[in-house]
């Protein structure tokens, strides 16, 4: 299919991009990876009058880890994360797992994390990971740059806190301290399919071996990725055990509100949500040397 006609603007700085977006408002879309936008344009489901290409903005091509956070700029690619030198660090195992199953290995070479968060597909992978890792998105608006916690950033299906004329600059995944590991378990019918169900978890253990912090989120379980607060509360403060993990999984099953579709029925997907949370928790804990 051939997209509808549009005007193309290439920005070389963030200021330039922002100015274009402010000028054109709802008529403009940001073009980063384009791996969700361009297919939508080919079906004419998206028909922006103006595309603002941000791929030449050096400042946005950031992928940096320090003691505080992993910073992912707006045009850092999924595959850059997959191959990052720090990707085998236990702290980033959730991020690593996700980076290997988003879309397919070629799409990942252009696709971006920030783009995926802004797209907010109900079955997206990065949104669930961002929830479990308690990420924050930097959004530039008329009043300057604000940092939006991911729970507020994800508003609803394909809707985020990025308003008309605004742009997302990057996402920060906080470095959650020692003895942190995560895991992402995704069931897809084949590579490139959206998740039938997926679970993102990140756990941090205290010195006494109890769970200090837990992040549990699901994809393909509602209008957008959801945090399973009940599961996090079940886990927090507890010593890891099969019972605790099972209870967290059951909470995830209950919390999951999937659509029945070609990938599976509501009943199946809810079951799967629980199964995947259990498996992801077990794997995250085993990465910390704990069998449960």
């Amino acid at each position: 299919m051939i997209p509808a006609a549009f005007n193309y603007l290439r920005a070389h700085t963030s200021d330039e991009a922002f100015a274009h977006l402010q000028q054109y408002g709802a008529e403009a879309r940001v073009l980063a990876g384009g791996q969700s936008l361009i297919p939508a344009m080919r079906f004419r489901l998206a028909r922006p009058a103006v595309l603002v290409d941000i791929n030449a903005i050096r400042d946005l091509n950031v992928l940096r880890v320090n003691d505080h956070a992993l910073t992912v700029g707006a045009i850092a690619r999924d595959s850059d994360i997959e191959r990052a030198p720090w990707i085998n660090d236990t702290r980033w195992t959730l991020i690593r797992d996700v980076s290997r199953v988003v879309a397919d290995p070629v799409v990942r070479q252009l696709g971006t994390v920030v783009g995926s968060l802004c797209h907010n597909d109900p079955a997206g992978d990065w949104t669930a990971a961002a929830l479990a890792a308690r990420a924050e998105v930097a959004v530039r608006g008329k009043d300057g740059v604000r940092h939006v916690p991911i729970d507020e950033f994800l508003v609803g299906s394909f809707t985020t806190a990025v308003g008309e004329g605004e742009m997302a600059l990057g996402v920060h995944f906080p470095a959650a301290g020692d003895r942190t590991a995560g895991a992402y378990h995704k069931v897809e019918r084949k590579v490139g399919d959206f998740a039938t169900a997926a679970a993102a978890v990140q756990v941090s253990l205290g010195a006494d071996g109890t769970i200090r912090e837990a992040g549990v989120a699901l994809s393909a379980a509602g209008p957008c990725a959801v945090r399973v607060k009940e599961a996090e509360e079940i886990l927090k403060g507890q010593r890891p055990s099969a019972e605790v993990i099972r209870a967290a999984g059951d909470a995830a099953s209950r919390r999951s509100e999937p659509q029945g579709d070609l990938r599976g029925s509501v009943e199946y997907k809810k079951n799967l949500a629980g199964v995947l949370v259990v498996r992801a928790l077990r794997q995250a804990l085993s990465r910390l040397g704990v069998q449960a």
Binding site: A4, A5, V187, R189, G192, L262, Y268, N271, V275
Partner: protein, 781 residues
């Protein structure tokens, strides 16, 4: 060029001669063709599955920059081209909708424009006013005739035909008196072959008024004749060229409305027209495959000897009967449903119905409904084994047609040429380590783990076919070869087939090389150009090797006969004193006195004496029978109870396709066909909801497995040549798709049998498997 004696070309794993151009990106596909002044065609399609067309307004479309013309069904009707006869001949289909639409995505208008973008913009701007009509979304509802879908037909019914074969009374009696019986509704779901290259064409009327028609066609000559009959253009003024084709699998056999619109556009506008469909159009409007609901009944003695088989099928044909079957076979070769077994009595019947879905039915390596038949019998045999408490391999072996019974007349009218089913199964059981697997399975079952072993011991029928039985639009299903050898011992062979990846440029050269003692590297192969290729029926249903392969061998032998005369002159002996031995012409009894074919070729042009100059012959081959490839496939699966995921741990395919021309090519065909069978078994379906909406319109919803999901394939062979084929070859392209779905399903059902599961329909999605496990758990707790 090689001067060495060829050590025999059959059975050689030659690298393919055609590969260099594909590797360099220099394949020549239809969309690669650009002609000066060429326009692009985009089709407007109906969003409604069943609706009256109240009006079509092309005003806005004509105003779109770059749009040159728009035509509708009414325009085609005025030109006598409103309807196309389908290949099956008993029905016709609309080219562009006239009066109403009958399936979602049906073609409604054709927009011609200067660029692809303008054509798409123009198509978007065509305004169609539809009045929706009630939808018939399945054949069982259709059967009630409450809504008549085709008032254009004489018989006002949705029932298209009833077909049957076999002995109805004998079978019914045998079943009634059988101590053991099973009956099951087995559905082969609607799916789609989806080759990676979509269908398309470029049409141009040249300065001589000839129609130059480049098209993705698996049967270029049939297209030429069909176009001549339909359009009235004399057949010599039509030049059909099928260039390189990016996969066919039966998708590129029917003549599609886009082709006709392109031709009409080229004629009316006086400029070349290109039509390349999108993937969505391919999946929603081109020939689907399968959709057979089969009620299978098998009778047996208590010891497991088969007594009778009855199959009653309800076939969903979509809105038009465009199933590209040979004329007298509306249900194709479904009569092969007795499979590899010696049934004393059998009766098969098929009733077909119209529905508000895309037309088609014959596609996806089906060998004309053999995939459906094979799946039905192989699935049902497992159900019978379960009923009898017998080992599934043992039940099969007990009832195989024995090796000494060939040629074997089946109860449904086929004469199987040859087979050694016990040997083939034996190789499979041995190689898969069956006894060890059974032991492992018993241990796993004791622990509640789900492991399954599934068989498929199929016989299929290909090589359409003998003129007394088969024709397409009246044209008998022979095939042809023309061979010309050049002075320096190189040559060219042209046939009526058309490869879409099967390797004919290599395998046909190997046959010629074998028959004539020449180097296949220097035998050029040409197919697909109707100006130069001899008339043939094309490539589908695994017919190329059985029919054209036979023609090539026999044409080569005619060349050899002519060459023998020249050789005799060269050797200064009488013709009867010359024999062809060790790939040379030798004086009988004096092997030292010999000449090679290469030497004879030169002499045929320079020193032929009173013989006809040159070295050329052709052969049009009417095969005496079909051929019957067979195989024994085994699948081993492990199932994750919590997710319903099926892991295919091993898959072994032992095929018997008779003489093998090129083992590399054969193995490649098998890998590809098994991958298709795997996809069908686990993830593929073209579904329509109850309102007639197509739910699988692109590759995000109609799934093709990737390198990660696809199992590793193990292959092996037995060789039981076809006694009637000039080189003993049977063909193999479709066998893996014919045989494998049942092996997968049998393995999954075997894994679930401790839970009381006896049958599951494909595709075996995770959800479906998970539910079957849950249902059993609910029952037992």
């Amino acid at each position: 060029m090689s001067d060495e004696k060829p050590a025999g070309c059959l059975g050689k794993a030659m690298k393919r001669k055609e590969d260099p151009r594909f590797l360099r990106g220099k394949g020549h596909y239809v969309d690669d063709i650009r002609l000066p002044g060429m326009l692009y065609l985009s089709l407007v399609r109906s969003p409604y599955p069943h609706a009256e067309i109240k009006s079509i307004d092309i005003g806005d479309a004509m105003k779109v920059s770059g749009v040159v013309a728009v035509i509708t069904g009414k325009d085609l009707e005025a030109a006598g081209l409103g309807w196309l006869p389908t290949f099956h001949g008993y029905d016709k289909q609309m080219v562009l909708a006239i009066g109403k639409v009958l399936f979602q995505y049906q073609e409604v208008a054709a927009v011609f424009a200067e660029t692809r973008g303008a054509a798409a913009d123009g198509a978007e701007a065509v305004q169609v006013d539809y009045a929706p009509l009630p939808v018939v979304a399945d054949p069982f509802t259709s059967k009630t005739d409450q809504i008549i879908l085709r008032p254009d037909r004489d018989a006002k019914t949705n029932h298209i035909y009833h077909w049957e074969v076999g002995d109805k009374d004998k079978t019914a009696t045998a079943l009634a008196s059988s101590p053991k019986k099973i009956k099951e509704r087995i559905w082969f779901q609607r799916c789609h072959p989806a080759p990676l290259e979509p269908c398309g064409c470029v049409a141009e009327f040249d300065a001589m008024g000839r129609l130059q028609f480049y098209v993705t066609s698996q049967a270029p000559h049939v297209y030429r004749t069909a176009l001549a009959l339909v359009t009235g253009i004399p057949e010599d003024k039509i030049h059909v060229v099928s260039p390189d084709i990016g996969g066919g699998f039966g998708n590129k056999v029917p003549v599609y409305p886009g082709y006709v619109c392109a031709i009409v556009g080229a004629l009316k506008i006086g400029r070349p027209v290109k039509w390349i469909e999108t993937r969505t159009e391919n999946l929603t409007s081109t020939g689907f495959a399968r959709d057979y609901h089969m009620d299978v009944e098998i009778g047996a003695t208590a010891e497991g000897r088969l007594t009778a088989l009855h199959v009653a099928t309800t076939a969903d044909h979509g809105a038009f009967d465009a199933a590209a079957d040979p004329t007298k076979y509306p249900a194709g070769m479904f009569g092969v449903v007795t499979g590899s077994y010696d049934f004393p009595a059998a009766h098969a019947e098929v009733d077909a119905y119209f529905t508000n879905k895309a037309p088609g039915g014959i596609a996806y390596r089906c060998s004309f409904r053999v995939t459906e038949a094979s799946y039905a019998i192989e699935r049902a045999m497992d159900i019978l084994a379960d009923e009898l408490g017998m080992d599934a391999a043992e039940l099969r072996r007990k009832n195989f047609v024995r090796k000494d019974k060939f040629p074997y007349p089946s109860a449904l009218g086929f004469t199987y040429d040859s087979g050694d089913y016990e040997k083939t199964l034996g190789v499979a059981l041995d190689k898969i380590g069956y006894q060890a697997l059974l032991k492992e399975q018993a241990e796993k079952r004791a622990r509640g783990e789900l492991m399954g072993i599934g068989f498929s011991t199929f016989t299929e029928v290909v090589g359409a076919g003998p003129s007394k039985h088969f024709d397409i639009l009246g044209i008998k299903m022979f095939d042809s070869a023309e061979i010309r050898i050049h002075p320096t011992g190189a040559g060219i062979v042209r046939t009526g087939t058309k490869s879409q990846g099967q390797g004919h440029e290599t395998t046909w050269a190997q046959i010629v090389g074998e028959e004539l003692g020449l180097d296949p590297q220097n035998i050029m192969v040409e197919e697909g150009d109707t100006d130069t290729a001899p008339y043939g029926l094309g490539t589908y249903a695994s017919r190329s090797t059985p029919v054209a392969g036979g023609a090539i061998a026999l044409a080569a032998r005619r060349v050899r006969e002519k060459a023998r005369k020249v050789a005799a002159h060269m050797l200064e002996v009488g013709e009867d004193d010359v024999e062809w031995k060790d790939y040379k012409f030798q004086v009988k009894g004096v092997p030292a006195k010999s000449v090679t074919m290469k030497e004879v070729a030169f002499a045929a042009y320079t020193n032929m004496a009173q013989n006809e100059p040159g070295l050329e012959a052709s052969y049009y081959y009417d095969p005496p029978n079909m051929t019957f490839p067979s195989g024994a496939y085994v699948a081993v699966v492990d199932i994750d109870r919590e997710t319903g995921e099926v892991k295919v741990r091993r898959f072994l395919a032992v095929d018997d396709c008779g003489t093998i021309i090129n083992p590399l090519v054969v193995e490649g065909q098998i890998h590809g066909g098994l991958t298709e069978g795997f996809a069908i078994a686990f993830m593929q379906e073209i579904q329509y909801d109850k309102d007639g909406n197509n739910l699988n319109t692109n590759f995000t919803d109609y799934l093709l497995p990737t390198s990660l999901e696809t199992p590793a394939w193990e292959t092996d062979k037995t060789v039981t040549p076809s006694p009637h084929h000039p080189i003993g070859a049977k063909g193999v392209g479709e066998s893996p798709n014919v045989g494998s779905p049942a092996a997968f399903v049998n393995a999954v059902v075997d894994a679930l049998s401790p839970l009381g599961v006896r049958h599951l329909d494909m595709p075996l999605t995770r959800d479906k498997v998970w539910r079957a496990i849950r249902a059993a758990q609910v029952v037992t707790t």
